[in-house]
């Protein structure tokens, strides 16, 4: 009698336990399970930053659009240009605001760029060199672009 009864009593609790156990796997967030099993790892693109060259327009100004997003990336991460006037357009395709600083003498940064907003900055660079473009909000989390003047 009891042997016939037991499975039915236990079916629901077992199902509950199983459901929680299975659904739980996805709920442990970016750091994942033991040994970071199933952790959210950065996309491959972030590990191999592509460089792109600014394109010179008929007026002599070099232009490039840089996408900033919720993955805390600048795409392209490295912008190459020749000395001269450079127009940088930052398009925020995510929701999180960013503020890209331009570590170029006499240049100001973008200021706050809200989600879905765009900001354009024109700089005049005469000295070849590598100029960092960190996000003031996300620098600690590695959000840094580079302007290379060759």
């Amino acid at each position: 009698m009891s042997t016939r009864f037991t499975p039915r009593v236990l079916v629901l609790p077992a199902a509950l336990v199983l459901t929680f156990a299975l659904s739980g796997c996805a709920l442990w967030g970016l750091e994942g399970g033991p040994d970071a099993e199933g952790a959210a790892t950065p996309p491959a693109a972030a590990t191999a930053p592509p460089a792109a060259a600014a394109v010179q327009g008929p007026d002599g100004v070099q232009r490039i659009e840089i996408i900033v997003d919720d993955e805390l990336r600048l795409t392209p991460q490295v912008v190459t240009a020749r000395p001269g006037r450079i127009e940088l357009t930052f398009r925020n395709t995510g929701l999180t605001p960013h503020d890209i600083a331009l570590r170029i003498p006499a240049a100001t940064g973008t200021g706050n760029i809200n989600g879905s907003a765009t900001d354009t900055v024109t700089v005049e660079v005469t000295e070849p060199g590598t100029y960092p473009m960190p996000c003031l909000y996300h620098g600690t989390s590695g959000m840094r672009g580079t302007l290379e003047i060759r």
Binding site: F5, T6, L16, E31, G33, Y137, H138, T140, G142
Partner: protein
């Protein structure tokens, strides 16, 4: 029989389904918020990311900064009479904390960004960091907490390096946050690290053992008592866990009580429910096994979903020790899972007979409900159950096949009435029934079956309930009273007895020129040089921030003031001991940090290669230089170390050197120091009394950049002395190599130490008294177009190597070290006994006025 059993099973299942529906409804209502329930503090759950605050420098008594909520927020307490301004992401004023309360600047984007852990917000268009602050008061407190995104990881994926090797520790980044305190910049520095957690296996085992013990308890003779105890322990563990979380929750008492009870006061609902059930189960109310099942399942599953990561992550938002917290989570999960199974099993084992043998499905189902309701009523009313001996239950009639109630009953009311009429209201377990049937059975083994033992049982239940309530109240009280994350106040080490002159001597830090070049007049006994390389990607603001921190810290250190709660007590009780800190810039700095390569002054042209030198590039050069002098080795070491810590994250050590001279009091103050070859070294130095002393040592050229005018250029050479070769030479040979007597330092041309050398003097045999290749002949300004430098060398010894740390100060090495060394390298007799092993060149900017920072005009007016 088969049909009856079938009906009974159906009825039981219906009751079970009803209960599970309630439990599932509760779970459905609670679980969506469960993820945010009491398991995260400030948006952070268990994590391997660790934010550390290493120093707030300089320290100000009454201004306390702390990392709270596991790195989610910074907390600033200011109990001084002057306000502290926290700088935002563009160095703009963001928050103001002081006697006037807490004010936020509505023009600062940080005001909006810092409200959310992940800055998922929108900054209003009028929030311009360069605009005039628009202060808005937000509280009367003298404490403010904010999500500072400089201190924690903001991305929803792991850092690349961590993702590549998650089981090893990583330094993710270093951070710094500046505070303004009445014109003084208080610089907070710290780091963000990845610290891998432990193996979760022991905790899995604890969960399994706890669950198995609870299930096994059903099949023991004390099933009810053990299950009640398990339920009580479950709730106690859950209360402990919640208390651990509430204690680290920053905020006022209501906020922390709310964190303790969980969103929607979940704890307030579940804990008393569970405690009452525990009491009733202890009183052998079998039915309440289902409540235990519900409470156990709910707490266990919520805990497993939200808190299982504490087992394998290195830190969790809890005031409890990490392993105690992990054990508490394991107990809740294990005991809860066990109760989830044990509840139904208890029912199966001790189910009243009425549920096994009755006829009508309807009445049986109602009987199930009725079975429980009167008990609840009785017990919640506080009505004492009858003495055990008088209790008669359905189970008392076990085997008699008679259910006095159920036949023909069609309503709950009548069912209850029937129960009341025919039997005492409390449905007891089988054992009590057996005891009632045969009171002498098992008396010794089960004393609770005696009449007097009823008190014991009730006492047990009462104890459990009181214990549970006490635990909840105690925890709540503790949470209300405790203050989380309070940093320990640094202990001021005021020495009891006055220090001697050596320890108490202070060298002024501020002034036209940096200290450590020509002040103090007598070089201190100890030297530590640290050369740094800028980290990749450091920008102008980063470099400027670093120089600001160094300036602040050096000013504090040189005056013997504490550097904040740095955690080291190396100089506690020690005086400043003539400490000086001198900062310089290497040629390689220009072209980095937004400083154009063309801005490098001509004075800082890299040194040419000299014949015979055997330089180790890894221990040469550098972007930045810290020169720390003091009359005490511990003071010098600690100052250099503290400044090195402050250099992070912008700069890292490239090389460092320790040097020593005679201690003060060992030789007369004005005496020239000796090197390890035994010579007086520095005899022919420019003297401060010389008319052109300043022009020789300090940059006075109007064409030099402003930051360098009033500064000086330093050449550092580590010159190894081949002492084994040197010592085999007779004294006379050694003296001819140098051109001076070793004992007095007098030139071989005659006279005393300071007598000018006569390079034309010959000895009796016609040879030059000072040989043609003698060191002083080649080095003398007279033969180098007046090239001169101020040498303030130190000795070093490192393993079996020893020699000279040659430090030469000059206005321009092209009219100082370079021509002299070119001559020396070619023909100096001393070259056989020495080897130039490292080389570096640094330009020391001019001195600093209070409120400014070293090298400030290097950055011009550009606010970068």
């Amino acid at each position: 029989m088969g049909r009856i059993v079938d009906i009974s099973v159906k009825a039981s299942r219906r009751a079970l389904h009803w209960l599970l529906a309630v439990a599932a409804g509760l779970a459905a209502a609670l679980l969506p918020t469960g993820a945010a329930w009491a398991h995260e503090v400030g948006g952070v759950g268990a994590t391997n990311f660790t934010t550390t605050l290493s120093a707030l420098s300089p320290a100000v008594s009454g201004v306390r900064l702390a990392v709270v909520e596991n790195g989610s927020r910074l907390e600033l307490r200011n109990t001084t009479a002057r306000e502290v301004v926290v700088r935002g992401y563009s160095d703009e004023p963001y928050a103001r904390i002081g006697p006037d309360g807490v004010w936020l600047n509505d023009s600062s984007p940080a005001t909006y960004l810092n409200t959310d852990r992940f800055a998922s917000t929108t900054v209003p268009a009028d929030a311009d960091p360069t605009a005039a602050p628009r202060w808005r008061k937000i509280s009367d407190d003298t404490v403010h907490r904010w999500h500072d995104h400089r201190i924690h990881w903001m991305l929803s994926t792991l850092p690349t390096a961590v993702a590549a090797a998650p089981t090893t520790a990583h330094r993710v980044s270093d951070w710094h946050v500046d505070l303004d305190y009445g014109g003084t910049v208080l610089s907070a520095t710290g780091s963000l690290d990845w610290a891998p957690g432990p193996s979760p296996i022991p905790w899995y085992l604890l969960v399994a053992v706890a669950a198995l013990l609870v299930v096994a308890a059903v099949f023991t003779r004390r099933a009810h008592a053990l299950l009640a105890a398990a339920l009580g322990a479950l709730i106690a563990a859950d209360v402990l866990h919640a208390a651990g979380i509430a204690l680290v929750t920053a905020g006022n008492v209501p906020e922390r009580i709310s964190a303790f009870l969980g969103d929607g006061m979940t704890g307030l609902l579940i804990w008393p429910f569970g405690l009452v059930a525990a009491v009733l189960i202890a009183k052998r109310a079998t039915f309440f096994g289902f409540v235990a099942m519900g409470v156990g399942g709910l707490l266990s599953s919520m805990m497993a979903l939200d808190d299982a990561p504490v087992w394998w992550r290195s830190s969790a938002p809890s005031a409890l020790p990490a392993d105690l917290n992990r054990a508490g989570v394991a107990l809740v999960v294990g005991l809860g899972a066990g109760l989830l199974l044990a509840g139904p099993l208890l029912w199966r084992r001790f189910k009243p007979a009425s549920h096994r043998t009755t006829g009508s499905p309807t009445s049986t189902a109602q009987g199930d409900l009725a079975d429980g309701d009167p008990q609840v009523a009785e017990h919640l009313d506080g009505t004492a159950p009858g003495p055990a001996g008088t209790r008669v239950t359905g189970e008392a009639a076990e085997g008699l096949a008679a259910d006095p109630v159920s036949a023909g009953s069609t309503s709950i009311d009548s069912g209850i009435a029937g129960e009341h009429e025919s039997a005492p209201p409390v449905v007891l377990g089988a054992r009590a029934a057996r005891a009632a049937a045969s009171p002498t059975l098992d008396v010794t083994a089960e004393p609770e079956q005696a009449g007097a033992a009823t008190v014991g049982r009730r006492g047990f239940a009462g104890t459990l309930a009181a214990g549970g309530v006490g635990a909840i109240l105690g925890a709540a009280g503790g949470i209300a009273a405790g203050t989380p994350g309070e940093p320990v106040a640094p202990t001021g080490g005021t020495p009891a007895e006055p220090l001697s002159g050596v320890g108490a001597t202070r060298i002024a830090f501020h002034g036209e020129r940096q200290a450590g070049i020509t002040t103090p007049a007598r070089p201190q006994a100890r030297l530590r040089i640290v050369a740094f390389d800028l980290a990749d990607g450091v920008d102008r603001a980063g470099l400027q921030g670093l120089l600001r921190r160094w300036t602040q810290a050096a000013a504090q250190l040189s005056q013997g003031l504490p550097l904040g709660d740095t955690g080291d007590d190396v100089v506690t009780g020690a005086g400043p001991s003539s400490l000086t800190v001198t900062v310089g810039f290497g040629p390689s700095l220009f072209g980095k940090a937004g400083l154009p390569a063309a801005a490098r002054p001509a004075e800082l042209t890299p040194l040419p290669t000299f014949p015979g030198e055997q330089l180790d590039p890894a221990h040469s050069d550098g972007d930045l230089c810290l020169l720390v002098h003091a009359d005490d080795a511990l003071v010098a070491f600690r100052a250099a170390r503290a400044l090195t810590r402050l250099a992070a994250p912008q700069a890292r050590v490239r090389w460092q050197l320790d040097g020593f001279n005679n201690s003060p009091g060992v030789t007369p103050t004005a005496a020239t120091g000796r090197n390890l070859m035994g010579q007086l070294d520095g005899t022919n130095n420019p003297q401060p009394t010389d008319e052109d002393f300043t022009a020789k040592v300090y940059v006075t050229d109007p064409a030099a950049p402003a930051w360098l005018r009033g500064g000086s250029v330093l050449v550092v050479r580590r010159i190894r002395m081949l002492l084994d070769d040197w010592d085999t030479q007779p004294r006379e040979a050694q003296e001819r190599v140098i051109g001076r007597r070793k004992d007095t330092g007098a030139p071989l041309s005659g006279g005393e130490e300071r007598t000018p050398a006569n390079f034309g003097t010959t000895t009796g045999d016609g040879a030059l008294a000072i040989p043609a290749d003698a060191h002083i002949r080649l080095a003398t300004p007279a033969f180098n177009n007046g090239a001169a430098m101020l040498r303030r060398g130190y000795s070093y010894s490192e393993g079996d190597a020893a020699g000279l740390i040659f430090l030469a100060w000059q206005a321009d090495p092209r009219r100082g070290f370079i021509p002299v060394q070119q001559r020396l390298a070619a023909t100096d007799a001393l070259n056989r006994f020495i080897r130039h092993e490292t080389s570096a060149l640094f330009a020391m900017p001019h001195g600093v006025a209070p409120g400014d920072h070293l090298g400030q005009d290097l950055f011009g007016d550009d606010p970068a």
